[in-house]
Amino acid sequence: MGHGAPSLLHRVLLRLYPRDFRRQVGEQILAFWTTQRLETRYGTPGIGALRYWFDVARDAMGNGLRLRRDPRRAQALGLELLDGGLSPAPLERLSFPGALDLFLQDVRFARRSLLRQPLFTSVAVITLAVGIGATTAVFSIVDTVLYRPLPYTQPDELVLLGRADGDQLDGLALPEVEGLAELQVFASTAPAVSYGTDIQWSEYAEVMNGASVGHQFTDVLGIEPILGRGFAPDEDLPGAAPVVMITERLWREHFAASPDAIGDVMSIENVSHTVVGVVRNDLDFPEAGVEFWTTFRDAALIRRLDLNPDQRGLTFFGSVARLRDGASVASAQAEVDALFERLQAEEPVNDMVPRGLVQSMHEATVGGSRTGLLLFLGAVALVFVIACANVAGLWLSRVSGRGAEMALRTALGAGRRRIVTQLLTESLLLAGAGCAAGIGLAMALQRGILAIVPTSIPRVDAAGLDGRVLLFAAALATLAALAFGVAPALRATGRDRSDVLRESSRSVAAASTNAQRMLVVGQIAIAVVLLAGAGLFANSYSRLLQVDPGARSAGVVLATFSPTLEGDNTDAIRGFYAGLLPRLDAVPGVAGTAMTYSPIMGTSNFRQSIQHETMPEDDNLWAGNVIVSPNYFEISGVSLLRGRGFTEEDTLATPHVVIVNEVLAEEMWPGEDALGKRFRWARGMSGSMDSFEREFFPRDYMTVVGVAGNVRRRGLDQEPIAEFYRPHAQMSWPSMTVVLATEGNNPNLAEDIRAAAADIDPMVPMSAVRSLEEGVQASVAEPRFRVLLVGGFALVACALSMLGIYAVMALTVNRQTHSIGIRMALGAEGSAVRRQVVVDGMRLAAVGVTLGLGGALWLSRTVAAMLYQVEPTDPPTFVGVALLTLLVAGAACYVPARRASRLDPVAALRTD
């Protein structure tokens, strides 16, 4: 006997036996258990271990607890039970489930006891449900986004590579992609570039997000296609037959979920691609929303531009890599740094010398959301603490009101531990009810939060209430039960209770009231912290909404068209738009149409390096290049400050003209008039230039004919950047967004626009018709989300703490009935009594507010980066929050105060 060492669990279970018994035969039992493990019936893999531990646990719980709880048995063995065992209780029938029986008996008693006070119980359960529900809902989202592993094999080995733009990943040039693939620190790498491109289905065409990826990408990510296969290496060579992998969604929608889809074709930019594989929808590689993958060498973007990517000027590639065993992000970064130094020596990049960046894929995906999400979790945790404090306050008064009951039970022989267990069972039962209601609330709340969550937070769709979240809720409930249950239980049993039977309960109650007052101060302090946070966010949000984006958004709708450029025939592109715009103009409800490549709040943006006449050859500036139609300024509301706009006379046949914005004018020619000045592209494309390239990247100088107002293109909180406008007639980019100013109310606007476009060519892909106003709203979705969430939490916290101060003042008045009666009998006015109660309550509130303001000031630094033009210590916000809290607290105190002032002195004096 005695094979193998007893485990920790063995020792924990052994502790269920009374100490004396353990001392006598504890070692023997451990040896017995370890030998028992060798029995053949426990040998079945998996289930055997379960069966074994079940038997051992049953042994320990049944026999151990029975010995503890049955004094006669214990006596027969000469055991001394320090806690006096169980009494009074019917002991004979306690067999194995004895412990369970006893527990159930406690639960039944607790249930009866709680149901006797339905008001207390329902208030407590609702409060707990709010605390647990809100915390669980936020936790489920935070957990999903931040802590779930990415849906790839061993995702912690995956890193994304790029050029460094601060700590953000930026695009790589192809020679860099190839250099990275050869680094020893990576087990494998795959380049990737995603873009929107047009897909021709049989009836219509649409723009869809796809990606060109290295054939290795399925191996690097460690994913298996659900149908078909990944790419073969020889499919990723120039001139190979085009192949494509698609998402399950695309497969279901366009290939009827048929196995025959493999080998079928899909037309991407009018090129037939053979479908070789289907992958699951949540692949999200290299970013969310990508629906199909072609091989890297097939990159439609490269084909469309007809450019030679093998130089360091074109930087829009990304790369994913799997770290070799034992390699870290830091060691990879060191090798990447060395590579970039080598490349810089071989083929120098003259403007900003690029640096490489290695970022764990998880960090790159969710890192940007971390601070915000943890902020929400912190805020909701404060609500949870307030809820617990509230219930603790209620619980204290309830337990102290049961002093006589406790004393009676003690007198009848119940041990202290027994009573504490009973009280804890009650608090656990209460917390359990709160937890159940809270989980229901969490489901609703989670749905509500997901409905307003900004799309910038990744992976949020996967949030649900799974086992992990439920476990979290249960843990919260246990924590809550201990938080509000233990102290009162110990306090209730802590003294010699015989005094309680004799005395009035007044003196005993005073102690618990003090504890409740402290709880109230804490609650108010926390509520002030949340209110201050909400106030700062609301303040910042309202300032953001007042920002003028520099362009009109009211009543403006957008639709993007993507005609395919055949060869270098830009005439066809100009012809298409020349036909389209008048047709759209004729649609009912449309007041005017213009077009641009880069609508505000959109992502389309050319950035080009340019140099003006007096700049040295190797110097340049970066600026955004916005292609527009002549009437763009008039329709979009972008102001033209000086000079002229574009006209129909600005064509390929006339000199290149350009309109610069104020930022660029100031950067290029500080203090001078920009009109009539000239600049050109810093570098033309290498090699022979065909007419397409000559049109898009001319070496000729462009003359500034106008200066336009600044536009906050990327969001209301983003400072305007240097930009210049070019007429579409001189730079006929195929894909353009039509800007339509609308008037009146045409309910079929979108269909009418679509019909007008189809009238020219149904096979030209058109995006959904979208409202620019909604786009502006979406650009402030994150700050709005913060205001709603933190504001909601702050209101709940405020309401709970006001409930707290109300309850404690009502209780105080109740307990002081006698003394108030004396004062009034001696001639005190009702108003004086009222004032006394309110002042008493406000003193608590004032302490809470002071503590809360201190805490809020201390914490405000953490949100500084999320505020727009509001200091984290914004005095008006803090003063406002303090006054508001005091006001509401005064109102909460007034109700019990009024009751006190209306007491009948005679009746009051008669009360105990």
Binding site: V25, F32, D59, L77
Partner: protein, 112 residues
């Protein structure tokens, strides 16, 4: 302690004493023998067994015994042997059971 105060023996004790009639054994050994002899009808858990052993020891029916020479397990494992009193008790119990059985047989004819 007179036999009157401990009889009738609980089934657990009866089987434990019976097992020890073969010679000294440790706790798990007793469990093993009892389980085999009763064809699994009585499967003793550690707590049940040691509670019974402690009671039997206090009643003077079993006592600690040295480990046999061929035992290769841990030196801490305790061996038990049955005492004179224990053996007497067992025999008395057996006689009582035989009487009861004979009495019962006489009243209830065996099924054919």
């Amino acid at each position: 302690m007179s036999p009157r105060t401990v009889l009738p023996l609980p089934a657990t004790s009866f089987h434990i004493l019976l097992a020890l009639m073969d010679g000294p054994a440790h706790g798990y050994g007793i469990k093993h023998v009892v389980e085999e002899r009763t064809e699994g009808r009585i499967r003793l858990a550690a707590g049940t067994l040691y509670e019974a052993m402690q009671r039997l020891a206090r009643q003077g029916m079993v006592e600690d015994a040295p480990a046999p020479d061929d035992f290769d397990g841990s030196g801490r494992v305790r061996f038990y042997s049955i005492t004179e009193l224990g053996a007497t008790e067992l025999r008395t119990e057996l006689a009582r059971l035989e009487q009861d059985v004979a009495f019962a047989r006489a009243r209830i004819p065996a099924e054919r």
